[in-house]
């Protein structure tokens, strides 16, 4: 323990804190004896469930800036009364971000400091505030030109792949699933749940987060469903929140809402492409879309069937006509070709017959020639040969005779010159030394010469010889 004794000689008056706060407390009680109606915004609720007391932070803002703030206290007993009255009228929980008009004692407690002890809240004020906020939200969305943006998106013909923002355990979500799955046409829906808080505190943030998550996978879905249902219809003001409503309005997929409530339409529902109030209605709507598409297909097939049949019929007829035309043309062509071949065949036959006939005549002529000509030729040759033989014989005889004559002539001439014949005619040959006297020198006197006559030889002695 520290004793706080002032040094002696110091006469300043010193108060304990409790003396001061006690004085302030007395002053507050004196100047603020009765409670006042005050309006402020709950910036933080600070409800302590164990004790049941609530210590809301209250602010007044001006142009977004906090102009004033104070701490409130609602004691447990007051709080339960206040809350049930508030919620039954406003259909909103006491929550942060909400404007309230409250009856409070302005208190200062030595123990807790300054606070406003709230003993009552006027829910009609908040109701007005909420309505004002909703009106402002709508006005702002319209001002920004996005109020109808989602509603103008084309609705998918077959809303099959569905992103669902809901609470997994909620009755609304289960209603949706049951109704979709029980559809009598066995249409199949691909549903992916994006779990979120769908009412009261944190709903705006939670839904916004899931909107963002779905935005990242737009190609996977045909439509977005916001489904809520079952439980208290408290805390629906989040659907009038500008931030949430503008996100929904600007969402690139058509948004279908089934928030399930009996009060006025919220802004989110107003800007959504389709609002069906209850999840079951949403399911019926989706099935209806399938059904409508199915009907369209049925209708189309009903129209298409006879149309196609007619078309097929027409084509078949055209085809048949073409085919028959083709057959006609083909048989015509064949006929013409046949005729041509026939004509050619006839022509060939005629020409052949004529040719054969001519050749036959020629042949018979040859036959006659062959039969007769050799005999003629042979006889002619025989005659020719005979003539020639005769001629040859004649010629040969003539030739032999001429040769005979020639030989005879030569013989005669030889006979004529034969020395024996000459001697017979009285001539003689005188030889000297075995040689006939002729051109050589005369034999000298006294030599013997021999003279041949036809009858014999004469030897003579030369008595005289002299040249003539």
């Amino acid at each position: 323990m520290v004793t706080s004794e002032l040094p002696s000689g110091d006469f300043r008056r010193v108060f304990s804190l409790s003396e001061i706060t006690g004085s302030i407390e007395r002053m507050f009680r004196k100047y603020y004896p009765s409670p006042y109606w005050i309006k402020a915004e709950i910036s933080k609720l600070n409800l302590y469930p164990q004790s049941g007391h609530c210590y809301p932070d209250l602010v007044e803002r001006s142009a977004g800036k906090i102009r004033s703030q104070a701490r409130g206290i609602i004691w447990k007993d007051d709080f339960s009364v206040i809350r049930s009255k508030f919620e039954s009228v406003t259909r909103e929980p006491l929550r942060e971000g909400i404007g309230i008009m409250f009856l409070a004692y302005v208190r200062f407690s030595s123990e807790f400091g300054f606070s406003l002890q709230i003993i009552d809240i006027e829910p009609l004020y908040t109701l007005g505030e909420l309505a004002r906020e909703k009106t402002e939200t709508i006005a702002r969305l319209k001002r920004e030109g996005i109020f109808n943006q989602n509603r103008l998106l084309p609705l998918p013909l077959l809303p099959q792949r569905l992103a669902v923002i809901s609470a997994s355990s909620s009755k609304g979500y289960s209603d949706l699933l049951v109704t979709l799955n029980a559809n009598p046409f066995h249409y199949r829906f691909d549903i992916q749940l994006f779990h979120a808080t769908l009412q009261g505190d944190g709903a705006v943030d939670s839904i916004q987060r899931q909107l963002q998550a779905i935005k990242n996978r737009l190609d996977d879905f045909d439509a977005l469903l916001i489904i809520r249902g079952g439980g208290d219809e408290v805390g629906m003001a989040c659907y009038d929140n500008y931030l949430l409503a503008s996100e929904v309005a600007c969402f690139p997929l058509p948004v279908i809402t089934g928030i399930g409530h009996s009060t006025n339409e919220t802004v989110v529902e107003m800007v959504a492409a389709v609002n069906k109030i209850t999840p079951t209605d949403v399911a019926h709507y989706l099935i209806g879309s399938f059904r409508a598409f199915n009907d369209r297909i049925d209708e189309a097939s009903r129209i298409l069937h006879p149309a196609v049949n007619l078309l097929l019929e027409t084509w078949k007829r055209q085809f048949d006509e073409t085919a028959y035309g083709l057959i006609d043309r083909a048989s015509g062509l064949l006929e013409a070709e046949n005729q041509r071949i026939l004509r050619n065949a006839l022509a060939i036959r005629d020409v052949t017959t004529a040719s054969v006939f001519n050749h036959r005549i020629a042949l018979s002529r040859y036959e006659i020639s062959i039969a007769t000509q050799p005999a003629i030729l042979i006889s002619r040759s025989k005659l020719f040969l005979r003539d020639h033989v005769k001629l040859s014989a004649a010629y040969l005889r003539h030739y032999r005779n001429s040769q005979q004559l020639r030989v005879d002539n030569l013989d005669a001439r030889v006979q004529l010159l034969d020395p024996r014949h000459v001697l017979k005619r009285g001539f003689s040959i005188t030889r000297y030394n075995g040689k006939a006297l002729g051109h050589d020198a005369l034999p000298e006197a006294g030599t013997t010469i021999e003279t041949e006559t036809a009858e014999g030889l004469i030897s003579s002695i030369v008595t005289e010889s002299k040249l003539k």
Binding site: K382, V389, A393, L396, V407, L410, V414, L417
Partner: protein
């Protein structure tokens, strides 16, 4: 005396001999030889002619005979 081969050779030689003799260009001594040769040649030629005539006649007869019909 040399051998006589053919009629044409024989007659040619004979004609030469006759011409020689008639021109008296040969001596008396050669004369008898020439004449003797000439006689031979003449005999050859005569024989040849006779033989040829016979032969030709027989051939012609052979030719004419089948031609008769």
């Amino acid at each position: 005396m040399s051998k006589i081969n053919s009629y044409s050779d024989a007659i040619r030689e004979l004609e030469i001999i006759v011409t020689e003799i008639e021109n008296a260009s040969i001596g008396v001594d050669e004369l008898s030889g020439k004449v003797k040769r000439a006689a031979e040649l003449i005999a050859f030629c005569r024989n040849k002619l006779t033989a040829t005539e016979k032969e030709v006649n027989s051939i012609l007869k052979g030719l004419e005979e089948p031609m008769a019909d």
